[in-house]
Subunit: 446 residues, 2 copies
């Protein structure tokens, strides 16, 4: 009954059911997403995908954010999803390391534009919440074994969330919605082995497409198996094969839909790299003034940090996002940890490489995931030590609206210029007031 | 090194390396595929998908077989893949129950047409063999645990085979080909729980799209992780999580590429339903003349038959393909087991339902998968018993060219008419002589 319950919940969600904190979290999530998608528009990964797929584009219904171009809804979903994730700068549901908004919003915005005039911002927001809630509940149900075995969880649950969101937008019936969730569930995209390659961001865009496709098929009567998520040999049993209780686990999570809201636990990244590195960055930024005199750097971190970001000699910006060693050196050297510190050229700069060579790391299972300790040894033998209990951007120390806006402008200004970035920021905050999402979405990149 | 070896092998395969038996098997596989794809063109599943996705179609470069229409290459790959599999009438690599040709050929034909004039039939055939060999070797590497846990193996390995085939067609370098295989591997589509719903055939079409997309992206420099198939937490480790040796298993299979040819073990189905039911159908067809006097039917079958086709009360044609009970009753009642016996109306016919109610089944692990025993009890108390050691269509008793042609015409005539079907059959046999695949493919449905 879990799939049916999720379908029925998502298909009937309305604005009046959303607590104010949920509405605020959804607006912040959408705002942060738009900044990330525009910020990633000119990334080489996005550009390569666009160049490969442009010959397949259909009617230009849907905006490629930040690209002064449109595509059919499915390709817009893919390319906006890639762009929104490619800097590893999008949001994080910390309990599962899902990046919830990019797959859901990419599908949703693209299809909302394809539907044409008259879709309200409220309708968009309700669908976004439906998608993100379904997505994160499923992630909680299969976490951590599903991730541990090697699935890129944002891709796998993202498709199902995207289906729920587009399904809500299309006003699918509960029965159609159950089929949509099933069709999406059968497309399990994303392997962690791809981290550090173009394919990591592709997973997110493909998840958006997978979900969009599922909702469009279900709308025309296409069927999936009943109970696809929890059935014997259904989604949970297959994608979390080493956990016998996986179907019950997802069912338990699904039955909390509407009672606890995952979107209120969504966190925004102050730094464009894997969130597990953020406590180390936070500590190193506080130690920046000692950079010149460093002879050794030692970081003590949660074990996942070395598992995910243990690359000692990253060759380019994408790989550097998975190197706590680069992150520490970059933050210590430049006192910043923005897109510039993860650009290809910065990663191979001799002074950065030299400082990176002085960084060592210890995994400490006693540390929380949002904590880290950094100890510098200086030329005169002195030590400086900083312990970060909760990194900036964690749920304990969230980014406020001003910080989100600074992040947005930092991403969007290089793509659109300062004046257009400020306009886009104001428009992005105003999503909920829009009476025509198609016009609103097209205006974001102008 | 397994991914690199597969990539290098597929990227450099040439016609001169193909033994005559491989060429013949490839031609039969392509011929059988074309009949299936045209035969499934007007199926409601194909029609629903086309109706849902037509608004997304790009430039009309690629034929929708049997549909008198074209679409962009990605949508043609999807819809031809769905059509070719929707009757469960396509081919089977018996050692893995992979249906090898539909995902590979659907991507390949669609992209060959998109490339425009001048692609030869030889080039198409070499690419087809490259794709099917990579696909089936991977399947052997993860068989049977991957299938047992619930993956629809045709979807999961089909994408990687399609990427190899399209990659060969596009003349990708070995390095690009390795990326293509990786991008395809990250899209793991197909859950067995979907058997009996529209989504089963969708898996096959989506696999074709997944592989096509992977090859197109890799051509433009898009990267995947090195060694994506065999790496720690790579494809094999993730999709066959319960087998610690999975990476070594696929590596061992990949290193037989070009030494043993899987396509020569490809089998063609005489009946449009799950191949595990075929021995039972074969036996029941031989017993047809007793149908009127039956009081009980008992079938003794390989255990997989009941696991896969244990539906006792199928409600429609799609479900009936997964009911050994329906299959036995249908073959006994009508003395045939073609598309008509799996049509919705036939499945609910009172006399068929009544006979179905008299069928019981026993799983016998001592039986081979292509064997079955059927025992009829007649009204006068007499018993009739048939034991089939190797079902028609198995590798021991393959369909010959005449049988394949009868099957082709049986599928294509209802869609195109008798004259066009005969023309299509002659053209389909002539693929290898074509100097322009685009023209050839477009001509198949005329």
């Amino acid at each position: 009954m879990a799939t049916a319950h999720a379908a029925s919940w998502a298909a009937s969600l309305t604005m009046s059911q959303l607590p104010p904190a949920v509405v605020r979290a959804a607006m912040e999530s959408l705002y942060n997403y738009i900044g990330c998608a525009i910020g990633g528009a000119s990334h080489p990964t996005t550009a390569a995908a666009r160049s490969a797929l442009a010959p397949l584009f259909g009617a230009s219904t849907s905006t490629l954010l930040g690209q002064d171009a449109k595509a059919d809804a499915a390709h817009a979903a893919l390319l906006n999803g890639i762009a929104a994730h490619v800097h590893d700068y999008d949001d994080t549901h910390l309990a599962t390391i899902v990046h919830p908004t990019a797959p859901v919003a990419s599908a949703l915005l693209a299809q909302a534009e394809a539907l044409g005039p008259g879709i309200s911002g409220e309708r968009l927001l309700v669908a976004l919440v439906a998608g993100i809630e379904v997505e994160c509940k499923l992630a909680l149900g299969v976490w951590p074994a599903h991730y541990d075995v090697g699935w890129h969880i944002t891709g796998t649950v993202g498709a199902i969330g995207a289906a729920a969101a587009v399904g809500r937008l299309l006003d699918l019936s509960p029965v159609q919605m159950e089929h949509a969730l099933g069709i999406a569930a059968s497309q399990v995209t994303g392997l962690r082995v791809m981290f550090g390659s173009d394919t990591k961001a592709f997973h997110v865009g493909r998840a958006a497409q997978n979900g969009l496709l599922a909702a469009l098929l279900a709308q025309k009567g296409f069927t999936a198996a009943p109970g696809a998520l929890e059935a014997s040999r259904g989604w949970a049993a297959v994608v979390d094969a080493i956990t016998p209780a996986a179907p019950q686990n997802i069912a338990a999570q699904i039955h909390t839909l509407g009672h606890t809201w995952e979107i209120t636990a969504n966190a925004f990244k102050p730094f464009p790299c894997g969130i597990v590195v953020h406590p180390t960055l936070d500590a190193c930024l506080r130690l920046h003034d000692s950079a010149a005199a460093i002879t050794a750097v030692h970081v003590r971190v949660h074990p996942l940090v070395l598992e995910l970001t243990g690359k000692t000699a990253p060759a380019d910006g994408l790989q550097a996002k998975f190197s706590v060693f680069h992150a520490a050196a970059a933050a210590l050297r430049s006192g910043a940890a923005g897109p510039a510190q993860f650009a290809d050229a910065f990663v191979v700069r001799p002074d950065v490489v030299a400082l990176r060579g002085k960084v060592t790391a210890t995994a400490d299972a006693g540390l929380a995931a949002d904590a880290a300790e950094v100890v510098l040894t200086l030329a005169d033998g002195a030590e400086r030590r900083v312990f970060v209990e909760h990194a900036i951007g964690s749920t304990a120390v969230p980014m406020d609206a001003a910080a989100l806006e600074a992040k947005f402008l930092g991403q969007v200004t290089p793509v659109l210029g300062a004046a257009a970035a400020a306009r886009a920021s104001a428009m992005a905050w105003g999503a909920l007031e829009s009476t025509d999402v198609a016009q609103w979405a097209a205006g974001l990149s102008e």
